[in-house]
């Protein structure tokens, strides 16, 4: 069986700074994998290498068996199958929620206007913002914006989804709405790679949790092990800081 995502000896430098120091990792179809770790550990960079928003310095990335790091690959075609959700939502501010979800369907998948609109409304309903179709992003709360962003990605019928700290920019009371949507997606069997600080979500939803620190994978296993009973000192120290922030 081909892996949904496979990273082989992935290195990434920003100038002289080595952010990823040789990552090997796989995500199987239907799996939900959460990447946790302190800020600056390279989690987001790793995620962004999967759809080549960052160009790895060395190593290979395969998505559904296709080597996306190969110079001849049609990266636009690969990205069409990978939905991505950003920390800062990155909705298009000059378009309504509905247009945000329609535009790539029309321009990339060449769907007709009617079909794109039907798909857009379905997905906006699914994430619970169907009533906000005609609002501009600036008129929506952070939680609503992030759910529109998820709908925008889902409307492309992706095979897998990348989430880059999707709740980190949200007010605490809005985090739950977004996590509920992500949980629903996971239950439907979507392949998901999620960089997150939400330990509760990771523990309950993830099939695997990957702990990264200093550009390497320190620990990789089921949540009951990595979060529940971490073996490495660094994982223990990190979890202690996150779960007991008052010390």
């Amino acid at each position: 069986m081909t892996h949904a995502i496979e990273l082989k000896d992935l290195h990434k430098y920003f100038g002289k700074n080595e952010v990823l120091k040789g990552i090997d990792m796989t995500v199987e179809p239907g799996q939900v994998v959460c990447v946790i770790g302190p800020s600056g550990s390279g989690k987001s960079t790793l995620l962004r290498c999967v759809n080549m928003l960052e160009q790895p310095t060395k190593g290979k990335v395969f998505v559904q068996g296709v080597e996306v790091t190969h110079p001849d690959v049609d990266i636009d075609a690969v990205r069409r199958r990978i939905g991505m959700v950003f920390q800062q939502f990155n909705l298009f501010p000059h378009m309504t929620a509905l247009q945000n979800v329609m535009i790539a369907q029309q321009r990339v998948l060449r769907r007709g206007k009617r079909e794109a609109e039907v798909t857009a409304r379905e997905n906006l309903d699914k994430v619970g913002v169907g009533a906000k179709c005609d609002s501009l992003p600036g008129q929506l709360s952070g939680g609503q914006q992030q759910r529109v962003a998820i709908a925008r990605a889902l409307a492309m019928d992706p095979d897998l989804m990348l989430f880059d700290e999707p709740t980190s920019a949200l007010d605490p009371e809005l985090v739950g709405d977004v996590l509920t949507v992500m949980r629903k997606l996971a239950e439907e069997g979507m392949t998901m790679l999620v960089v997150t600080h939400e330990m509760g979500f990771a523990r309950e939803v993830a099939d695997r949790v990957v702990f990264m620190d200093g550009g390497v994978v320190v620990e990789d296993g089921p949540p009951s092990q990595v979060i529940g009973d971490p073996r490495h000192e660094r994982t223990q120290a990190f979890l202690h800081r996150v779960l007991h922030p008052e010390g």
Binding site: I103, A104, R107, G138, R152
Partner: protein, 275 residues
């Protein structure tokens, strides 16, 4: 040290701050009054009115002032503006292109046309038919005026657009690319529309600038149906040996430029609220 009093008696100002402010304001008013008196006494009001605001000469300017001169000014400015808008956007995209020679060409163009006086460009345009035998700018004087204004305006507009394009957050391009859009598709669908919205206020100011610079058409040696406000005023002024038509033309410029200036600053304010 320790037994010295820690609080000193505050030094009493001889004048209270309020009193000082009153005196300062009084002095400013006094200077203004003196200046007004001097101007009123020494200016020859009769002669000034005769030369700059003579009613019967002003009457001669109508209706051609609006039907020909203002109309042509707007044609030159609007045509030049459209030219500058399109070429400016192209130059801005070249300026931030991945292809280095494009960046050089755009930079060279922008530096040259912003660095030269607009008048020089207009003078050179009059020599174009000599330099390129058989070549003629289409639409006659309209074409020449629009070409001159467009060439100069494009250099400024390019920098306006560049600022706008660079002000669109990188996340916007990333979101578009992650949806499978190509680089150029992302630029056209996501980045440029946002950049254009952002630069509406400075672009309005650019239009005002072109409207004023359209007076340089004077140096293209235009006549008859092609004259714009400045040339029109100047010709009438020569004819009557009186500056009133120039004043009249000036007021006509202001009727257009001042409202546009207010429009630009209102748009600026609205942009601030929307973002």
């Amino acid at each position: 040290m320790a037994d010295q009093p820690t609080t000193a008696e505050p030094v009493r100002a001889r004048l209270s701050p309020r009193k000082k402010q009153q005196i300062s304001r009084g002095v400013q008013y006094a200077i203004l009054v003196v200046a007004l008196v001097v101007v009123a006494l020494y200016a020859d009001w009769g002669s000034l009115a005769q030369n700059f605001a003579k009613a019967d000469v002003a009457e001669q300017a109508l209706p051609d002032l609006f039907t020909i001169a203002l109309r042509n000014t707007i044609i030159y400015a609007a045509g030049g503006f459209i030219f500058a808008f399109v070429l400016g956007l192209l130059l801005a995209l070249m300026r931030i292109s991945q292809v280095r020679p494009y960046r050089w060409i755009a930079l060279l163009y922008i530096e040259i046309f912003r660095g030269l006086p607009a008048l020089l460009i207009f003078l050179m345009i009059t020599f174009l038919p000599l330099a390129l035998p058989g070549f003629e700018v289409p639409f006659g004087t309209y074409g020449q005026g629009i070409l001159g204004l467009g060439l100069v305006g494009a250099a400024y507009q390019a920098e306006v657009f560049r600022a706008g394009l660079q002000a669109v957050p990188k996340g916007q391009t990333e979101a578009a690319r992650s949806l499978g859009m190509s680089a150029s598709r992302a630029q056209v669908t996501v980045v440029i529309p946002q950049a254009v919205r952002m630069v509406i206020p400075p672009t309005t100011n650019q239009f005002v600038s072109l409207l004023k610079d359209s007076s340089l058409v004077l140096f293209l040696g235009v006549s008859g149906e092609y004259v714009e406000l400045a040339k029109f005023g100047n010709d009438l002024a020569s004819q009557y040996a009186n500056a009133t038509p120039i004043m009249v033309a000036g007021v006509t410029y202001l009727i257009v430029t001042i409202p546009l200036g207010y429009l630009a600053s209102r748009l600026e304010g609205r942009k601030g609220r929307n973002r």
